[in-house]
């Protein structure tokens, strides 16, 4: 195991064994065979640092926070040490024209080879005027940057599916990356925010195998998003037994029963929280007593309320009043027509005589 990376790491005090251990864990999380850990380590150690451009659009920086504040910055940071992060507004020292220049330079120098990471959705309303950088709209910048990228990684639910900016009524006309970039491979890493190891895992996969991991029908890496929260939830046995917490402070909640009735979206949410957990494996939402919000699924914000059970309606009385009025109006209309018809029939009644009984 030799190469520029391992040397860099060694200089930073990261030992070879630490790196091997990290790769073994990463491979395990990505559901790769155990032997892949070593292969990953070998490959990554020798890799040339690819250029990465990170474009933030309509976002909250939560995705960046998630990755930079992860439990062991040196390990997660390791991956970032393997890449040449040429543009990241939040992290880079440069600002203004300098920063834009760095981006332009990186794009020119690595045309067709750089990885493009996007977080945040892209507003299309008012010609994209809702979000601009250096006087240029997000959609403009994205199109330009995607043009020379080898692949695009949409980090976070906003970039993947539009996220909160796209939530009803979507005032800015926000769309996900996949609505704009059609000719490049896109990996979606949804989550609000996404799990750090998932982000690094995808990068590691790209660095190791030179390709993107296998994706599901929503463009997410199957290795992390293959199963639902519900399928891997430690509270699942309670669901099967029909034991549900009814409020957040009842006996069921204290006993750690299933949170389905409190609106948990676990059964319909694909993510790795239940296995990878958060904050260095400390806990995750359900373990902390709160149902899954379904943040890694498209349109989770409009899924009918976080505290409404999946079997409960989102907003079923939306048209009720209007429908009742229309129904009553139709009924009254028909009623008038019927009465007119019947009265006419009565008015034109000809008294029947015996002669009317025969043809």
């Amino acid at each position: 195991m030799q190469g520029p990376l391992i040397d860099t790491l060694a200089r930073q005090g990261v030992t070879r064994r630490t790196f091997l251990k990290y790769c073994a864990t990463l491979a395990s999380m990505m559901a790769l065979p155990p032997a892949a850990g070593r292969a990953m380590a070998e490959a990554m150690a020798a890799v040339r640092r690819p250029s990465v451009i990170w474009l933030p659009f309509q976002e909250c920086t939560g995705c960046t926070e998630s990755i930079t504040r992860s439990h062991s910055p040196t390990i997660e940071g390791m991956i970032f040490d393997m890449i040449s992060l040429d543009y990241q507004e939040t992290l880079m020292a440069a600002a203004g024209h300098q920063a834009e220049e760095a981006r332009q330079n990186a794009m020119k120098a690595n045309a067709g080879k750089y990885l493009l990471i996007v977080d945040g959705s892209i507003p299309l309303g008012q010609n994209g005027a809702y979000s601009c950088i250096g006087g240029r709209s997000n959609v403009d910048i994205l199109k330009e940057a995607a043009g020379g990228a080898a692949a695009v990684i949409a980090v976070g639910t906003c970039a993947s599916y539009g996220g909160i900016p796209k939530a009803n009524p979507n005032p800015t006309g926000a769309v996900p990356v996949s609505d704009i970039v059609k000719d490049k491979p896109i990996v979606n890493i949804p989550g609000c925010p996404p799990i750090p190891v998932v982000m690094t895992g995808v990068l590691a996969h790209y660095l190791t195998f030179g390709s993107l991991p296998e994706l599901d029908d929503k463009g997410r890496p199957k290795s992390f998003f293959g199963e639902t929260i519900h399928d891997r939830c430690y509270r699942r046995p309670f669901y099967d037994q029909g034991k549900f917490a009814k409020t957040f402070d009842d006996e069921g909640a204290r006993r750690g029963w299933c949170l389905f009735e409190l609106g948990c979206k676990g059964p319909v949410t694909h993510n790795a929280c239940a296995t990878v957990k958060w904050n260095g494996g400390t806990s995750w939402p359900v373990e902390s007593g709160h149902g899954c919000l379904g943040c890694s699924e498209p349109d989770f914000w409009d899924g009918g309320g976080f505290y409404k059970a999946l079997s409960a309606p989102a907003d079923p009385l939306k048209f009720a009043a209007a429908a009742s009025v229309v129904g009553a109006a139709v009924g009254v209309g028909v009623s008038f027509a019927n009465r007119a018809k019947k009265n006419k029939a009565k008015a034109t009644h000809e008294t029947i005589t015996v002669a009317d009984l025969e043809k």
């Binding site: 079923p316 048209f319 209007a322 229309v326 009924g331």
Partner: protein, 219 residues
């Protein structure tokens, strides 16, 4: 459309639409039917105990003497599936949760195992009723497309609901979505088919009871 989007649609816009069509249909049909009016009965009434519209509304819930023996399948099967549907719809936990969300009132529910069992019994009774409809000359003779269609529309929500809770055939997300969709189809079809008897039977029994009560006959 993905599973979750399908489910979200059925829980959201789909349900909106179905409830809207249901309310629209019910009001329209009720007004259409009951504003046709009827003539006042000018004959001097005869009063008899137990003879009134209201009496008949309740009395017709029980088989008249001798009828249970003549058509046991219709009565027993009918009772079982109607009562079964009522138990499932009004005492199943997710349904009560739905009602609570709709109108704000809730009440205690029955264990899901019991509801599951009720669903099986209900489906068995419905299959029996279907077999009876196919076998019995009178029922087969009377049956139109609507009879088969409404049977299916009523059966599907029970089947999909049961399959969703038992985790059969399809993933929960999909089955739940199909269950809600089938219930929505039921809501949409109800006002415009014979299923509307759920509303009009009260009117019909009342009219029958009243017309005959005028003559002093408790029917």
């Amino acid at each position: 459309m993905t599973d979750l989007q399908f489910l979200t649609w059925t829980r959201g816009p789909g349900l909106d639409l179905a409830v809207a069509v249901f309310l629209l249909g019910v009001l329209w049909r009720l007004i259409e039917i009951y504003t046709l009016g009827r003539k006042k009965d000018l004959a001097a009434p005869r009063h008899a105990p137990g003879a009134s519209g209201l009496h008949t509304v309740f009395r017709r819930s029980l088989p008249p003497p001798g009828m249970l023996k003549r058509s046991p399948v219709s009565y027993i099967g009918g009772y079982v599936f109607h009562i079964g549907l009522a138990i499932i719809v009004f005492l199943g936990a997710p349904h009560v949760l739905l009602i609570k969300n709709l109108v704000g009132v809730s009440w205690p529910t029955l264990p899901s195992q019991f509801i599951g069992l009720t669903a099986v019994v209900t489906m068995a009774a419905m299959v029996l009723m279907l077999a009876d409809r196919i076998n019995k000359p009178v029922k087969r003779f009377l049956s139109t497309f609507e009879d088969w269609f409404t049977w299916a529309v009523t059966f599907l929500p029970v089947l999909t609901g049961w399959m969703a809770t038992q985790h059969l055939l399809l993933p929960y997300t999909q089955m739940l979505a199909l269950h809600i969709l089938s219930a929505e189809i039921l809501l949409v079809v109800l006002p415009f088919s014979k299923l509307f008897h759920g509303f009009t039977l009260f009117g019909s029994r009342w009219y029958n009871g009243r017309v005959n009560a005028h003559k002093g006959v408790p029917v």
